[in-house]
């Protein structure tokens, strides 16, 4: 048994937490684009594709995050795709975020009056113009609280990627535990780091929701 000072633990875990946050840009970028794309395909009821995407979305939403991580990390090599832990994390986090976001955007699209599309087209805008300058800004505004909620879920889910060997904050805390045999401090610091990022986001999302109701 060895001692690691609390300050030392805080800095080490803080450095490791950056690894967790490193997922975010990738996941948000791909999740947003793919989510909007899938929502549009399903909103316009593109034949075959929309049914297929609906099925895949449901399967992803029904599966636990951990088993998706295991499946991508352990099963994909058997069809010739080998991913490292960080890449596995990006893939699975993006898949789950896309599945949820596409549902969010789809309900946002349904919430917007169909007349908006028609009015924009009556003004002589083509489909893409009316989509990007009239419809999507309104959809994104409606969906903002759920998007912030999804960011919180994604940040929390990054901890699970530690289970396939990704060295991030939770794995680092377990390494510290094996040295000091006193995990309470390390786990509390880990919880503190997550709360530091997630709690303001949760409050922000709630405030946005309240404003939307008014």
């Amino acid at each position: 048994m060895q001692q690691i000072s609390i300050w030392n633990q805080i800095t080490r875990l803080g450095g490791a937490f950056l690894q967790n946050l490193a997922f975010l840009p990738f996941v948000l970028f791909f999740g947003l684009i793919l989510g909007i794309l899938i929502a549009l395909l399903r909103f316009h009821k593109v034949p075959l594709l929309s049914q297929l995407l609906a099925g895949v979305t449901e399967v992803v939403r029904g599966a636990p995050f951990l088993i998706l991580v295991y499946a991508v990390y352990f099963a994909l090599p058997s069809i010739g795709i080998e991913l490292e832990a960080f890449e596995t994390g990006i893939v699975v986090l993006t898949i789950t975020a896309t599945a949820y976001l596409s549902e969010v955007f789809r309900s946002g699209l349904l919430a917007i009056d169909k007349g908006q599309f028609e009015a924009a087209q009556a003004l002589g805008l083509n489909y893409w113009q009316s989509l990007f300058s009239i419809v999507l800004p309104q959809v994104l505004k409606i969906c903002l609280p759920s998007m912030v909620g999804q960011i919180v879920l994604t940040i929390k889910d990054t901890s699970i990627v530690s289970l396939v060997g990704m060295v991030e904050i939770v794995r680092t805390s377990r390494q510290i535990m094996q040295i000091t045999l006193d995990p309470l401090v390390a786990f509390s610091i880990v919880g503190g780091y997550f709360a530091l990022v997630c709690y303001p986001l949760i409050v922000f999302s709630k405030r946005l929701e309240k404003r939307a109701i008014r």
């Binding site: 449901e58 399967v59 939403r61 029904g62 599966a63 636990p64 995050f65 951990l66 088993i67 295991y70 499946a71 352990f74 099963a75 090599p77 058997s78 069809i79 919180v152 929390k156 889910d157 990054t158 901890s159 699970i160 530690s162 289970l163 939770v170 805390s173 377990r174 535990m177 006193d182 995990p183 309470l184 786990f187 509390s188 880990v190 919880g191 997550f194 709360a195 997630c198 709690y199 949760i202």
Partner: protein
């Protein structure tokens, strides 16, 4: 052939037992979580500053930290203070505390949606606080929030997969073990994913049909 049907057939009993284990963890944690959530939500109705601060702290901590670290905290952290649990106990404690926080938010919303006249009418009839809550208010709350509660339960089922970390033989652990002994990961992860999906799908159909019925009933009541 890509899929080995004999392997599927021979591993089905293991997966079935694992499925029962998953259901056991989910049901125990779900019932405990429902109790915790109801009590916590009821604490908020007293409008006491101390109680509200406690509830805010509890739900805030649970909602803003990952379940995995909560599980580690209960299973590896608390023994430092001399509190030991078996894997199953740790898992159910962590899961019920976790789902309790989310359920309390759902029940709190339900409590807020009950018309104040119900409280006053029950009070005028001379019912005690406990009678008012248990016979008048909470039954109405639960019939209204049943769909989101079912949704929360289906999240809980998915969350129980983390019990695999504590070597509890539930679905995710079984899939991992069978994958590493048979070297057939597609079948080993495919079967449990189908089982999880069946549960999720059944619950979402149930939740939708109940939501539809609740809405119809309230429309009838409003007229």
């Amino acid at each position: 052939m890509l899929i080995d049907y004999r392997l599927i057939y021979s591993s089905l009993p293991v997966f079935f037992n694992a499925f029962l284990e998953t259901m056991k963890i989910a049901l125990v944690s779900g019932i405990l979580g429902l109790m915790i959530g109801t009590v916590v939500a009821t604490l908020c109705t007293f409008n006491s500053k101390v109680l509200n601060a406690f509830v805010g702290f509890y739900t805030g901590v649970i909602r803003s930290t990952p379940l995995l670290i909560q599980l580690y905290f209960v299973h590896f952290g608390l023994p430092v203070l001399g509190i030991m649990f078996t894997s199953f106990q740790s898992a159910t404690i962590a899961f019920s505390l976790n789902s309790g926080a989310y359920i309390s938010e759902i029940v709190r919303g339900g409590l807020a949606s009950i018309d104040n006249g119900q409280h006053e009418a029950a009070k005028a009839l001379g019912l005690s606080w406990y009678q008012r809550m248990s016979c008048i208010i909470l039954p109405q709350v639960f019939s209204r929030v049943l769909p989101p509660l079912i949704g929360q339960f289906s999240y809980l089922i998915k969350d129980t997969s983390l019990a695999a970390v504590l070597v509890i033989p539930e679905l995710t652990y079984a899939s991992r073990r069978i994958a590493s002994t048979t070297y057939r990961p597609i079948e080993s992860f495919g079967i449990p994913m189908l089982m999880y999906f069946a549960l999720y799908f059944a619950l979402s159909i149930l939740s939708n049909s109940i939501a539809g019925r609740v809405k119809r009933r309230e429309r009838v009541a409003a007229n």
